[in-house]
């Protein structure tokens, strides 16, 4: 798929996420907008995966785990638009009797979701377990996982960091959604995680920087570089310098858009900046 096509999808994914969150009058727009380009790169160009029929074990394909589950509106849109479930289902986001739970869950059997995430810090460990399971079953495919930088306050992230390096889990590519924002403010004010790259290097991970985290060519080339580093005894971490709220000017870099839905006038301003590029749900 060419870059223009991917950019078109990413633009629609942003629009989907805002429409979903507005319709539900709840959700997490900032992170969803910030990670949309990476999700699109992974699912539409980079990963070798099988949307249908969905297999929970993920054996024989690349697997992605979203550990910072709250940003799932954009992820759900990408899953639907890459064929995991019907696009119309996006309109049920956060509604009663929906498979699209407020945070990702397996109980309702939404294709594409392999673990519940939402309580932070847990998905990286799960991804490591899936990577070990692939090794034991001689599956050469890779495991991808996204974690948040606010999420990296959790101790379990650093337990997992130690474990993956110690056990040479080198079929794992993690991505930190490094937007420097968390619920109560800037990460440097709430609980500083800097210097983050040095931390991951010190923990024994191959660590890459993705400065242009909204450029699809840059994302794809960093993902390819990460793949080239896999299989060499170390897990790989990509620090992706994303912009929270990317694509909606008044949401960009404003931590207050972590977890609230836009009011009607805000929605009108936001959606005007996100014109449809594909069919709306």
């Amino acid at each position: 798929m060419d870059i223009q096509e991917l950019e078109k999808i990413a633009a629609q994914v942003r629009r989907d996420a805002i429409r979903m969150i507005y319709a539900a009058q709840s959700g997490h727009p900032g992170g969803a907008l910030g990670a949309a380009d990476i999700f699109v790169a992974l699912y539409f160009a980079h990963m070798r995966h099988k949307p249908y029929p969905f297999s929970m074990d993920g054996i024989g394909e690349d697997v992605f785990i979203l550990s910072n589950g709250h940003i799932c509106a954009a992820w759900y849109s990408v899953l639907a638009r890459s064929g995991y479930f019907p696009i119309e289902e996006l309109k049920t986001f956060r509604r009663i009797n929906s498979r699209l739970q407020g945070h990702p869950a397996t109980k309702e059997k939404l294709p594409g979701v392999r673990i519940a995430t939402g309580s932070l810090g847990q998905g990286l460990s799960v991804a490591i377990g899936i990577a070990l399971g692939k090794k034991l079953q001689k599956d050469p495919h890779l495991v991808y996982v996204m974690i948040g930088d606010g999420e990296s306050n959790e101790g379990q992230i650093w337990e997992a960091a130690l474990f993956a390096a110690h056990h040479r889990v080198d079929n794992l590519i993690a991505i930190t959604d490094r937007n420097y924002k968390q619920i109560d403010g800037d990460t440097r004010d709430v609980l500083n995680t800097d210097p983050l790259e040095e931390k991951w290097r010190a923990f024994g991970w191959e660590t890459l920087s993705l400065y242009e985290a909204h450029s699809l060519p840059a994302i794809l080339s960093t993902l390819r570089e990460a793949v080239s580093l896999s299989g060499k005894g170390k897990p790989v971490m990509i620090i992706a310098y994303t912009t929270m709220g990317k694509g909606v000017d008044f949401m960009e870099n404003d931590y207050r858009w972590h977890g609230k839905a836009p009011a009607p006038p805000e929605y009108e301003r936001a959606i005007a900046q996100l014109p449809p590029t594909l069919q709306d749900f």
Binding site: A116, Q122, G129, A131, G133, G155
Partner: protein
């Protein structure tokens, strides 16, 4: 004549887990295991020696260990995680809740050193709230076997059981009195070890042996008291328990656990649902333990055959 259970040779229940885990792994190549720097204490060494590629040392990182296990289970493997009951439950409650139970992963949590009988290490390590925490989780199965032989069988059964299992056992050497390949052991079914017409003691874990001793002593006084082993605390055998509640008003529970949220509450719940009865509880009375020898602790905190006998006598008086 009622059966006479005798000690076939005292052993620790944790060793029953170790033997069962190795056997299960020899039968099923999907079984893998993780330990949080306690492989020796939790008796996982034989497994690690026989199957080094299927064993993962997690270090003192229990939260990560639960998550890694959930990931391994996602790929179709059957992970057993082993650590002390304290670190296997309270410390990782949220990981078990979200990554294992809510996500419905086939993870087996092997919790050793449960209860007061951990002994000298004291209250920091004496987990007495775990049955409550674990049975409160949807999707979880909770098993508390009574001796070495039954812990081995419970481990084998847990390996074949689909879904999350919490398997609770202990540290000290205790009487081993159930048959080696007891055909009456089945997850989700109570075991009637002794029948009786004057009352019933429901017991779980180490307290089953003490319940048997209490029943034998009461027999000397002319009382016929049944002993029912409730090794599966969830899913609980409601009908198996109810049939005893129907038969007798003398109901006693015995558990090495806090008085809240454990076996006493389970029996009371069934009782209030179908057949209201007074329930006399032998359990730790909402307090922390302390350092000491297992027998000294059981004595001080009221968990011996004598305490069970007193509870039966109280129940008879309330009749």
């Amino acid at each position: 004549m009622r059966p006479r259970f005798i000690d076939l040779g005292a052993k620790d229940t944790r060793s029953g887990f170790g033997v069962g885990l190795l056997e299960a792994a020899q039968r099923d190549s999907r079984i893998v295991a993780l330990s949080a720097d306690l492989m020796g204490s939790v008796k996982m060494e034989a497994f690690a020696k026989h199957f080094p590629e299927r064993f993962f040392q997690a270090g003192v990182s229990e939260a990560n260990m639960i998550g890694v296990a959930a990931g391994l289970a996602t790929t179709g493997l059957i992970p057993f995680v082993g650590t002390f009951a304290n670190f296997a439950t309270g410390r990782v409650y949220d990981q078990i809740r979200q990554s294992v139970c809510y996500s419905k992963k086939n993870v087996k949590i092997a919790a050793s050193h449960a209860g007061l009988t951990l002994g000298e290490d004291g209250a920091t390590h004496q987990m007495l709230e775990d049955i409550g925490m674990m049975r409160g989780l949807p999707e979880m199965t909770v098993i508390s076997p009574c001796d070495f032989n039954q812990t081995r069988l419970a481990t084998l059964a847990a390996a074949q059981w689909e879904g999350p299992v919490y398997l609770r056992f202990g540290r000290p050497v205790v009487p081993n009195f159930t048959p080696a390949d007891d055909p009456s052991f089945e997850i989700g079914k109570v075991q009637v070890l002794l029948s009786g017409t004057d009352g019933v003691i429901f017991a779980t874990g180490h307290m089953v042996w003490h319940a048997l001793q209490a029943s034998y002593a009461l027999e000397e006084k002319g009382l016929s008291i049944a002993v029912v082993n409730v090794h599966t605390l969830k899913p609980v055998d409601e009908m198996g328990i109810l049939s005893w509640l129907e038969q007798t008003p003398v109901i006693v529970t015995a558990e090495e656990h806090q008085v809240h949220n454990g076996l006493g509450d389970i029996i009371s719940h069934i009782s209030t649902k179908y057949r209201p009865r007074f329930v006399e509880r032998v359990a730790v009375q909402d307090t922390f333990g302390e350092s000491g020898k297992p027998d000294e602790l059981l004595q001080k905190y009221g968990l011996t055959a004598h305490h069970i006998i007193a509870a039966v006598e109280r129940a008879i008086q309330r009749k």
